[in-house]
Symmetry: C3
Subunit: 664 residues, 3 copies
């Protein structure tokens, strides 16, 4: 331990590097290479050769302590050295994933040190690994740990208790007091977990920085639709150089059908991209192979799906996509699963699909450099307290109450996401704190608040300003039902009355589905129907004298408020069209490229590269589709994995096909 | 603590009061008022004003220790004083619900002290509260605790263990020894819980009596269809002045469809009325508002439902109905839920419905004073051991075995209840010990034993006498399968052979449903089909030489015995008519008012007031109904919330409507 | 304790006896007699009389310590003495089932001593019981304990931990190292449980042998389709004189429909017979009566079912069938359930069915002596590691992944069993170590490996030799996916490449069902479709260039390999015919008697007795069937419980009927 001094955030930033230096402008494709004792030198060599032959430039290796740290305390790096040298030989850059020994769990690993002793062991592991591997030219960067995120669980160890007590002591009483009501629920556990995740990742980054500065510092989040309320991404930007996602449909996309995995992946990219801010974002793990016994919803991706997922990720702005995995683990859980190569270490339809995409990128480097998805100026916002409260009050009952069960909020929000994608428009998804509230004009920008059951006090002014400065706010469900302390805002004193145009007079629980008429649209709703106590809004929906929707002008902007669970209603009834009609009229997205009308089961995302814009179109419906695209540009096919026909802006595409259209 | 002497039961009774002194002859309507810090004086005043304006005379306030007991140990009563003064101002009487501080649980509260230290804290809380609030004129009485009943759970604390050991030591070995068989199952836990509940309620009553005598002493039981085997109501009569029920369909009526909530509430009233004996009974909590996240089967009651529930309760003889709640909690679990007023503290359809009923009562005080439901002389009896054993032996399997799963017994019994209600006849429901076994003649009285799987030895003589003295006993299911020690009575020595006409030769398990023919009726059965070893009965049902039903004369009475699960069969198949036909013939109810024939989905309950009889008729079917009522009286509509038509004894009523018919 | 010396295995064998001495050549029927305090002398006498009257020669009595060991420490044998004397009087032999006191569990009992103290108590119990009852002439033998088998659970006691540590110390590192891969999963727990079961049973046998030699030593295994991987039957043969099964459809046949209970029972017999080896095997417990609250899938067997189960067991070679139970328990769990007699202690349809079978056996002793099922030379093999791994990796998801959920393997194997039975051919089921691998020629012998997910290294040579020496191997599912350490064999180095004709290139997960075409058969598959990397085989199935099946010659034998889940596919789709067509052609069973074609829902098992062969045919379909039997013999009806017609080899049989056909 020759460098014991503490490397602070500042140090990292000072000696840091811009993301562009690490990632070229052109995105890369790669795959996880599993390294285990038992493998032959020839096998290891062959995998890196295969990566190279298939246009991959990047790999990820999990640095299992258990495979290097001998029983007698000495370290044997020889096996992993072979891999790093093979990487060098074939021009593959390596993400080294830290993986200290984890009691019997070689799949997920631990999420926090178990004790002070454990912490010291982790320190020693980092010292050994970083010191040894920082010297390899093939080393690209460090992945701090495997998939932070616990599903909300806070370990019940002494170690964690101490950390909690320290944290608790430092908390300052907030000025906002929920009107003086006695706080009955604290969300300390949840707040602490957000802190604790950040603290530990930072600690690992600091440990690395003792021995190595200048390589990528990365971490990848998994199961995002369940875990998203555990992370404070903006704080992570201080010690990371890029942020990533694990996106395995069979594990992580349980709220979606297989035909929706493209939409789900796009949303996953979106969440991570927003979290990354100015840092690059990656798909650090993308399911590349078959499930046998693992995965909650097991399946084997088709070649078409690999293509769909790659172009979805890349058009979302991912700087790299790394499949899990090139080869399979050989022993233990997940042995023989997940690989892009077959049991004979040969290529597959899946690997071939990836190669086709890699080739296309290589061919059109000018188009695909500096990819940025076209900003639709539509933002689906979420906040942590909403998810915390949904979980806190959950009472599992039956499908008639789906909206208040686990996933109620995210399913609502994702329905809006899907509807917009099927209109060829990809909205942003941002945590409240990730949205830029500092602008002086929000004209042309829309925010959707889909069943954000909690609106904490510290977000009120931002919302007010956004509307005042020209923004359009679309509010549905029981958004704002609680403040951050679970105070019932509507039955006490709704603080955004001026902005929303009034308050609610009631929410009525209606198990199953119902319909409401808003602006001539017959919209399906589910479970909760809210009535507005209107003060300044224009009534756009009412029944029996009760107001179900208003549009309220406030400052230069306005709010469209329908306090019923419309997203869930659309999702459950399968009638996405009614809500789509309403939305497309209200949001008036000013995108240059979109569909003429909503296309059921079709995903389109448009991005701009250095040279031109391009759209990824994927047919996830069961039928051949002919689609009219609204675009002021001339079209040109850059890529297609099928018999797609493009006639001006009219596209004919078979099920499961993906096409890339350049707009010039 | 100026009065430290112990106030015994006797003292309470000596200084006691008759229930009539507290409750007038005319029933009252009221609502819970939630008092929390954060509320303004104006709000508090407005709620009591609203109660008054809506004809309510009663309220209930939960006396949260946590809102009065300061961190420094001192007490601040000011907030609740405001409420009591506002009550005084608007002529509202207050039920003060004791609610000592409960670790993080402000909804349900604790059911037993956690320790000796906790007991002392509770004592101090009672001293403070009772001493302070006994002086208010608005004080009506004390509610000992929130909803005793644990779902069968006995806390595993040292405190409880000590209480158990004390109790156990005092148990005397009963003379009955189950024929000398070794007892393998003790039901000590269950027996203790019955004792423990009683002990603790009595302890609280004694604590109150140290400082206050003369006010109402009340407690309200919840989730009655699951918890009914935990209570010894007759023992409670010694320290209570009235007994109550919490009846929230969304929490408590899980065995029923929404269209059956009226029947369920009527049954709930019945059970509590029987438990109360000569004491008044109340619906202390009746769901008055919307569920959002709370409730197992969430919904928002309609105005019509509020009307239905009120008249059902009142015609059942409830001296008061108190809604939960007037206003909603503002923070924490259930915040913004359950209220009769809307978020703007305005009246709702629900509150208006309650007001209409209150007005009607005020207008017809002569008719509605001293309401007693007309006694049908039909009694559905239950006993605790049956429920204990059903729970003890339960093995969760699939819907084909519904009858032996949780709720098997109560669903059986409730089907008889529903069938009779749909004939316009409301039976009594009594725990065995609540039934009056001391009469010298039971002619005209019927008892139904619906799948009472255990008949303990101490009930045998009562049953024998009942029949001997002219009673009619209707027995179904596997009633009497066990004694109180889980001895198999039929395979050993069935002690009621003379009364029932024989014993059983077998019970055959038939998953799903089946049919048997009894007295020409094709009755659906479920799961268990019993065959009778007939000795003295008249065979009324048989198949393939096996006897499925007998009628046995015994003394002046008789027994109709069909040892198959008929109630469940009717319930599961939806064919209630066949069993109804059979029942109506066998029970020959001698009621003055009933339907000409069973009316599917129609509830009728007839009561007598001081001046005349009246019937409540509610249409819970989906269609307009024209119903012939058998009645020797002239009819007159007292109340209707719809377009009901009454032509002599022929009533035409729309779905969801309620009508009150006076008979003169 | 007059004989304290240790009786080793050798001693038992030396002083032992041949099974034939104990069991006559002719099988026996019997029943459990429950003995409990509370029963009268007359009752006890009557039960043994009833056994005798119904042709039963055997009974089993559970020797409850709790009914003999008084609180003061003394022993009172008088109650059980009465039973043993009554047995003597009526010529009934008694299996005495050891049942030391078990804390509150009088149904299942404990499976292992809880502590050293407990062990000493058990020792004393054995001393008392064996010493006392060995003198009775009616004593037939000892049942070591009730149903060993824990569902995989290893107790977490100090006692067990010590035993585990001892065992662990003695383990020798195996020479096979899984190619040097680090072992991530140990199956120590599972291996230990196999050892521990054996150890404890042996310990009990030794304790008995201290006081008694010469009586039967028996134990009966339950829930075989879940517990089969916990037992090492060949090791048990050293201390047992016979092996038995508990076969209660309501508890143990959960993977089967009621119409399949005959097939399930036949399979259960098969597994136990194979485990018993040269020892006799028994059905020690067969459900004889009704479930009320007990059983997972409760029902009451019909008389027909009793007949079916008896003939199924007997034609499987069972030396005895003992029903559970003659009389019912009188108190506690299962009181009043399970009995063959009715509540009045009279015979039932079920007991009468048993008597008819007993009579038939008595009448045809020459035919029914030394019954051996006709060997079909088809063997369904299973091994323990496959079940261990299936359980280890299990992730409960939905019905689309049924094949990887609990029971996936056994359901696959049982489908082959059922298909063969419906062709009139009963295959053998053997654990790998129970199969005779020592022959020099396997011509005419077939082995089926149905989804044996693990093929441990120590089985490879046996498999290779079997095929080399003329055997035919039929392989399906993902057989061989893992070795014994969960090494992925196909993705590393498949050791049976030469035998199978190649390796796998991939397994594709396809939730739900699919079809593949093999040798012109359109076979339904489920979940996993494997593609073969063919080296030497003949392709018999392919799609899109991928090989789905091969036939490979190896030595004198061959392998048919279809690496898709065909058994589950057939089971789930209900299309058993396609797989049957394929199988019957490939397996070419050389049996003398079978059906001309598969008969849906018909079970046939053929056995040979001392004089002739006979077939049991049972119609478990819903319709009358006319069946052509392929047989070179003349037919003669020995037994029928219906209106069966036999015209040469053409049989007409009604649903639920059983017929025995003698072939001469």
């Amino acid at each position: 331990m020759f460098r014991k001094f503490f490397i602070s955030f500042i140090t990292i930033v000072l000696f840091g590097f811009s993301a562009e230096n690490l990632y070229g402008n052109v995105p890369m494709i790669g795959a996880q290479v599993i390294i285990e004792p038992g493998q032959t030198d020839a096998q290891i060599d062959s995998w890196f050769k295969l990566l190279n032959e298939n246009g991959m430039k990047l790999c990820r290796i999990r640095m299992f302590e258990v495979y290097m740290h001998r029983a007698d305390g000495t370290w044997d790096f020889s096996l992993f050295d072979k891999a790093f040298r093979a990487a060098e030989k074939y021009n593959i850059k390596v993400f080294a994933g830290l993986f200290p020994a984890s009691n019997g769990n070689s799949i997920g690993g631990f999420k926090f040190p178990l004790s002070k002793e454990h912490e010291i062991k982790i320190q020693d592991y980092i010292l050994q690994i970083v010191n040894h591997y920082r010297k390899f030219n093939s080393l690209y960067g460090w992945v701090l740990m495997n998939e932070p995120g616990t599903g909300g669980y806070v370990p019940e160890t002494e170690y964690t208790k101490e950390k909690f007590d320290d944290w608790k002591k430092k908390q300052i009483e907030p000025p906002y007091k929920s009107l003086g009501y006695t706080l009955l629920k604290t969300f300390d556990k949840q707040k602490f977990l957000v802190y604790y995740n950040t603290w530990y990742l930072n600690w690992v980054a600091n440990e690395i920085a003792k021995y190595d500065i200048g390589h990528e510092i990365h971490v990848n989040n998994h199961q995002i639709f369940d875990n998203l309320a555990e992370y404070d991404f903006p704080s992570w930007r201080k010690f990371l150089t890029s942020l990533g996602a694990s996106a395995h449909p069979s594990w992580h996309f349980g709220y979606f059908d297989r035909s929706e995995y493209t939409v789900a992946l796009s949303a996953n990219c979106n969440i991570i991209r927003s979290g990354a801010g100015n840092l690059p974002f990656l798909i650090t793990e993308l399911q590349g192979g078959n499930n046998t016994y693992s995965g909650e919803k097991p399946f084997c991706p088709t070649g078409n799906e690999i293509t769909q997922w790659l172009w979805t990720s890349l058009s979302s702005g991912a700087k790299a996509v790394i499949f899990w995995s090139l080869n399979s683990r050989s022993i233990g859980e997940e042995a023989g699963e997940w690989a892009m190569i077959d049991f004979n270490h040969k290529s597959t339809e899946r690997l071939n699909s990836a190669m086709q995409v890699a080739k296309c990128i290589d061919k059109h480097q000018d188009i695909f450099s500096n990819i940025q998805p076209l900003n639709s100026n539509i933002h689906i916002l979420y906040n942590r307290p909403s998810f915390w409260m949904e979980r806190e009050v959950q009472y599992k009952s039956n499908i008639d109450d789906e909206g208040r069960q686990p996933g109620g909020i995210i399913k609502s929000a994702m329905t809006y996401y899907k509807i917009l994608c099927e209109n060829g428009i990809v909205p942003n998804i941002n945590e409240f704190a990730e949205f830029d509230w500092t602008k002086s004009d929000y004209s042309g920008t829309s925010i959707i608040l889909a069943n954000m059951v909690s609106l904490p006090s510290y977000e009120w002014e931002d919302i007010r300003n956004f509307v005042k400065l020209g923004g359009r706010l679309f509010v549905e469900g029981i958004t704002g039902f609680y403040d951050e302390n679970m105070l019932s805002l509507f039955s006490t004193e709704f603080p955004l009355k001026d902005v929303f145009g009034g308050s609610l007079s009631s929410v009525n629980c209606i198990p199953g589905n119902f319909k409401i008429n808003v602006s001539g649209n017959n919209l399906p709703g589910h479970l909760w129907k809210g009535y507005i106590q209107n003060e300044s809004g224009n009534v756009i929906g009412s029944e029996n004298g009760y107001i179900t929707g208003v549009r309220n002008k406030f400052g230069k902007g306005d709010v469209i408020w329908i306090p019923s669970l419309l997203g869930m209603g659309a999702r459950r009834t399968g009638d996405l069209q009614s809500l789509s009609n309403f939305l497309m009229k209200e949001l008036q997205p000013s995108v240059s490229v979109c569909f003429e009308k909503r296309e059921n089961g079709i995903f389109m995302q448009t991005a701009k590269g250095s040279k031109s814009n391009f759209s990824v179109v994927i047919n996830k419906s069961k039928v051949k589709k002919t689609i009219k695209i609204r675009s002021p540009y001339n079209s040109n096919i850059l890529f297609s994995d099928g018999k797609v026909k493009l006639n001006g802006n009219e596209l004919t595409i078979d099920p499961e096909e993906t096409v890339l259209i350049e707009w010039k």
